[in-house]
Structures are given as structure tokens and as C-alpha cells.
Symmetry: C2
Subunit: 157 residues, 2 copies
């Protein structure tokens, strides 16, 4: 779907202050509360807003090390590898990709030493031919959606 400028401002507001209610949002946006409620309902039913799950900081949880692993998979073993990786709690997300590797996954670990254990567990599986790991040092741009939302709203307004 496409969003208009009001949707964009609403999303931006929610991203900045997630716990404000519909009423407060309507005040800030200068529209009726029914309008905000209708927009919110539509954004959720169209899937633009998936939900309002808690953003958990894995570092604060005791897993300060993040890494990305590129995996090369044996032909026809994709499904097995996916199932294997899904059982590893330290695998936060997994993508299948084009390019040199076949899969890319985001890992966390308790320390650099612990990362070795995680990688061993990840690659200790028959279908995985090779793995190359990049350890994250800094995160200059944390996951963000506001600039994109702004652009999407601008382009449809």
C-alpha cells in the first residue's frame, strides 16, 4: 500500500514516543481522534504496522557481541539448514540470498570467545559447506524506519 503525509507523521510520532495513546496523538497531529484511530487500524490491517513488540537490546541481555555469518550450502540441503538454524537461539535472523553465499544470518554471543561456540554450533551441520563471519564493531546507523517512512509519505502526497 502507500501512505499519505498524515500516515507518515503518525508513524514518525509513534516511532519517537511509542507509548502515547490515540488521544494524545490526535492532539499532536491536530486531527480528530477518530481519524487517528482509523489510520492506525488501516495501517495495522494492511500490514504496514506489524505490531508493537518490545525492542530488546541483546547487549543489555548479556549478549554484547553481534556478527553476521555468510553460509554456503550444499545443493538441496536448504530446508534442513533452515530448520537447524532455527533451533539456535543466538541466530536472530536468517535470510537466503543471491551472491557468493547462499544464506546470511545475524548472530549474537556473550563474548568473542562465546562467539566461537555459537559459530561451531551453527556450522556444525552437514549441509553447510563454508561460513565466513564478520564481527560487528560499531553500529553507526541502528535499525531505523523514519527516513524511509518520510520518503514514502512524500512520494505519495
Amino acid at each position: 500500500m502507500s501512505i499519505d503525509e498524515l500516515d507518515g507523521r503518525l508513524l514518525e510520532l509513534l516511532a519517537g514516543e511509542p507509548r502515547i495513546g490515540v488521544l494524545e496523538a490526535s492532539r499532536r497531529l491536530g486531527v480528530a481522534r477518530g481519524t487517528v484511530q482509523a489510520r492506525l487500524d488501516r495501517l495495522q490491517s494492511t500490514g504496514v504496522i506489524r505490531g508493537f513488540g518490545p525492542d530488546v537490546d541483546t547487549g543489555a541481555l548479556g549478549y554484547p557481541v553481534t556478527a553476521f555469518a555468510t553460509l554456503e550450502i550444499k545443493q538441496g540441503q536448504g530446508a534442513d539448514v533452515r530448520a537447524h538454524l532455527a533451533t539456535v537461539p543466538e541466530v536472530l535472523e536468517l535470510h537466503t540470498t543471491t551472491g557468493h553465499g547462499d544464506m546470511l544470518c545475524r548472530l549474537v554471543a556473550r563474548s568473542n570467545a562465546d562467539l566461537q561456540r555459537v559459530i561451531d554450533r551453527v556450522v556444525g551441520f552437514d549441509g553447510i559447506v563454508r561460513a565466513s563471519t564478520a564481527i560487528v564493531m560499531e553500529n553507526p546507523v541502528p535499525l531505523r524506519i523514519v527516513p524511509l517512512v518520510r520518503q514514502a509519505a512524500r512520494e505519495s502526497g
Copy 2:
């Protein structure tokens, strides 16, 4: 910090049904409302819970293509490159890493053709020597934290 079993169950509950209130959560967990409130406050003040921002589906927003780009940077140009990438709305996150590349960023685009435009904009900057891009086909494991939270809670209980 470390979380106990109750924190773990609370996080799991919030991840599954983010819009339940403190009162409902206290019922489900079988503890007093004040306890849930105290735990929530602590999880937020210690940074385990960063916030409750809306999870925006970039696909539903009109950007169904996701890619990861590995960038190689000229010595000493890191700060400039970071600043440059921060101005591109389609750059959803950026990490500096060890390994063959120097940076890894997550991109989205309106189509495969549009991805070319995004990549041109990303790499059209003096400090970037080389870029290799992997287009995401499937996402068998979407970003998740519940299994990790479960493990963290188990290990401290």
C-alpha cells in the same frame, strides 16, 4: 544485566501480544500488578527493553526488495562514509565490521530495478572503494528474540 524466569515470561508475553496491558499481564503471569509494573520499569531502565516502537513492514510500505551490501572503505574515510549513508533513507541499518568488507548495510528498494538506483546512490561516494551486494530472496527466520530471552532467563534462574 541478567533476567530471571519471570522477566523472561514477561518479555515472551509482550513479544507475543504486545498490546496487553500491565493488568492483563499480571493475570496471565499469576503475580501482582505492581510486580509486573516494577519488572517492566526495571527492564526499561536497564535498557533491556529499548521501547515499543511500531514494527514497520517495509514491504507493505512499498519497498519489497531487501539487500545486504558489503562495503570496502578507503582508509580514514570511515566517518564521511557513515555520514553519507545516514542520509540515504533506504539504508535501514549500518554496521562496521571486521573481515573482508569494512561495513555492512541493509538496504531496501521498490524493485530490483530500483535497487540499482539505491546502490548507485550508496556507492556514489568517494570514500567507497568496492561494494558487493546480496539480494534477499527468503527470510526463513525473521528477526526474533524470544528464543534468546528464554535461554538468558534459564541460564540465570
